[in-house]
Symmetry: D2
């Protein structure tokens, strides 16, 4: 008899417990995501972006000594001016989404690392390589789309020299303790010309040409740097969203 | 005495090793990333993409019972057909980059979850929400760009009803042990209309409407499912790259 | 005798002149066409365009009484505000190339001429019709892409309500004599969403709702007018190049 | 007396006729323009276009002797193969709207007419010039966007070598009498990279390198020809709509 009552209990109570779970219990209403307006197309800056280069002037950039940036600006396109050195944003950024369009020189010269070389240094330290790797072999961890000398791109998604290419970069800044110790490493996702080439890879430290990368504590926001590597690489339509 | 010699060796040799480091030592030449051709623009399928919907037919899709997909196809646009149920790809996918364009009905009807609701179920289980959230409030973890009931989108980047929107999704499939235990959780990045809304978030398990998500072992490749939620949501230009 | 020599000259020299024709003779070196920089894509304003609407303000527009334009501007989109009347450019234009993007309301209401109706009046007089003709029949010479009540569009190239559409218009202004007589009629080419709908058609006069169009002398440059027809039609990315 | 009655008739009847005019009287309901579906963007082929080059094969093309076209096809891009000669469409066209994307070689060589030279011959006879005129002067009626040796382009809207450029061409075929006499000349509108460069200009005859152009009767539909001028000019995304 008890067993029958027990069975009845199972038949009636257990389902009622299940039924008592309600969809509303797993709804989360706060915070409400901020409303933004995306661009006319996915390459155009959304409403919450800081436009760093719109082709009208170089007012958001300086050279590394805080003097006005000396790269050329012609027909809305900014181009490395040989011997003028790297340039950097006046504003600093930490974690961010960054859109950059770049073009390696149509007129090919040099080979390997000497063809269409430039670079995007997040926080002035962590380089996403810019290079003309269309029919131009170099070391895999130094080609376009690589995190220079740290991460090989998943594929080679380069367009030919002279064509515009896009980088959509998602950067998570590293975190440091008060004592300078690394709390969490930087991470980067890179989409080149619509193709994933880096998927949230963990950076090993600051980009170095020689030796092993390591982290050194720096500010929470640091200037974005574009490299003058002696090649006439061009840029346009650069915008960033702080994350 | 030996210790002193040892110390001297450290003092003199280690630095000299450091100085002898050469840039070539940190070059990695293999593997060489596969060469692919990006699309005409970042929204067009690159050469290594599997085109799932090009507007000509629904041949890559079936309903959940393996019968031909019954959604409508008109003017190159695929639209949910009420009562015809979810559809799924004939091919299965694991980790992938997925491009989807969708449009909620221009004619607004309903509110909250009843307005322009559909969904993209990665591996048939993990939902990126599709919803018309333009001037339409719902719970934050259930709005467009959310990982349904798991992750609130970073911002609301919705376009108005009737306009086409893009999702660029980077999905890392979960891994399971032989015994069904979870070895690594699924991860998702979502870019909506060019704006980051999910940054490599970790999924808590399969999407559930009621209760808490949990993982259940499944195959390494599973069909992508698009949801019929009773709203006439449309799709076009869907392509996927296996990672 | 002289005549004979003259005839001989014709017989021998003329052919030899013909044979001696050189490619250089048909080269024309002046004028040298002005150098301009096209936009990033064919929809973006080239360097010699006057941008009339970039989404930031309505400073280039007024109402018909020279008061500030009262249409709404939200998220970079300008929309007809019912009862606020037509708006016009502060600057006048004659022959020109005009790019306009427009969107009829996603929420469909009304039918025939009462659905998504607005209009682009070149020189304030010659109307390229704006109307939602997606599944909405009206008289052929009054539908989208028509020169209102003068020229039927070659095809119906409308997008659904709620989607952005483009008009690329080439307008040749009419010419009048000092006495007001018509020296040459206005001509218009219209490309809607990339599809030719009017091919250099000759206008019969100013657009009229009732009766037959006729020309009345006006200035060489006249304001461009956008019509408030009581429908919430939206506009963005309007630019013009003077020809 | 009669005159007075006549005058009264004018005074009373004419206005009443004018007042009796109704808007419906100037509505034209037939023909109803054919419904077509525009492409995803204005550069993509609409539903009624014949796609001549989609990057998958050269099946719509032959050389001038009807043998398979020998130009190279790589990564979806068709390029002139030196010495292989002109190619032409297998199908003939008369009046049409034509979309062509072309790229002059990134690696600049030669000058004047010897830099990035090719051409689009409508009906195999009427040439829209293709040339790299970025920082490369030649005779004005022979530069990119010209109707070769007949019409100077309105502006120089060239992009740099290595970048893709668009031509949107509207061509009205000439008409001939049975006796071969010209009934109406050919006319052409050309939009280069979104910028008008030819506005419905009248052609003087077939394109000739030496001497004056003249018309010779030909078929109502004739193959479109692309020129091999010894430069490695590339093409992609070519489509045509018959008018």
């Amino acid at each position: 008899m008890k067993n029958i009552i027990y069975l009845l209990a199972i038949c009636f109570l257990v389902p009622s417990i299940a039924y008592s779970q309600k969809p509303e219990e797993t709804e989360v209403w706060t915070p409400e995501p901020k409303l933004i307006t995306p661009g006319i197309n996915p390459q155009a800056p959304p409403s919450d972006a800081i436009v760093l280069l719109d082709g009208k002037d170089l007012s958001n950039w300086s050279d590394l000594k805080q003097n006005p940036a000396q790269w050329t600006l012609e027909n809305g396109v900014m181009t490395v001016a040989k011997g003028k050195g790297d340039i950097k944003t006046k504003q600093g950024f930490g974690s961010c989404q960054l859109h950059v369009e770049w073009r390696s020189p149509a007129e090919v010269s040099g080979s390997g690392q000497n063809r269409g070389n430039s670079g995007i240094f997040l926080m002035g330290r962590y380089e996403v390589q810019v290079l003309d790797n269309f029919n131009n072999r170099t070391y895999s961890n130094g080609q376009a789309g690589s995190i220079y000398k740290q991460h090989i791109p998943l594929v080679n998604a380069c367009k030919p020299p002279g064509e515009w290419q896009t980088y959509d970069i998602i950067f998570t800044a590293p975190k440091f303790g008060e004592d300078g110790s690394l709390l969490s490493a930087a991470r980067v996702t890179v989409i080149q010309n619509g193709v994933l080439v880096q998927n949230n890879v963990e950076l090993k430290g600051e980009t170095v040409y020689i030796g092993q990368p390591k982290y050194t504590k720096h500010g929470e926001k640091e200037a974005l740097v574009l490299q003058d590597h002696g090649c006439l690489v061009s840029y346009r339509n650069i915008w960033v969203r702080e994350l």
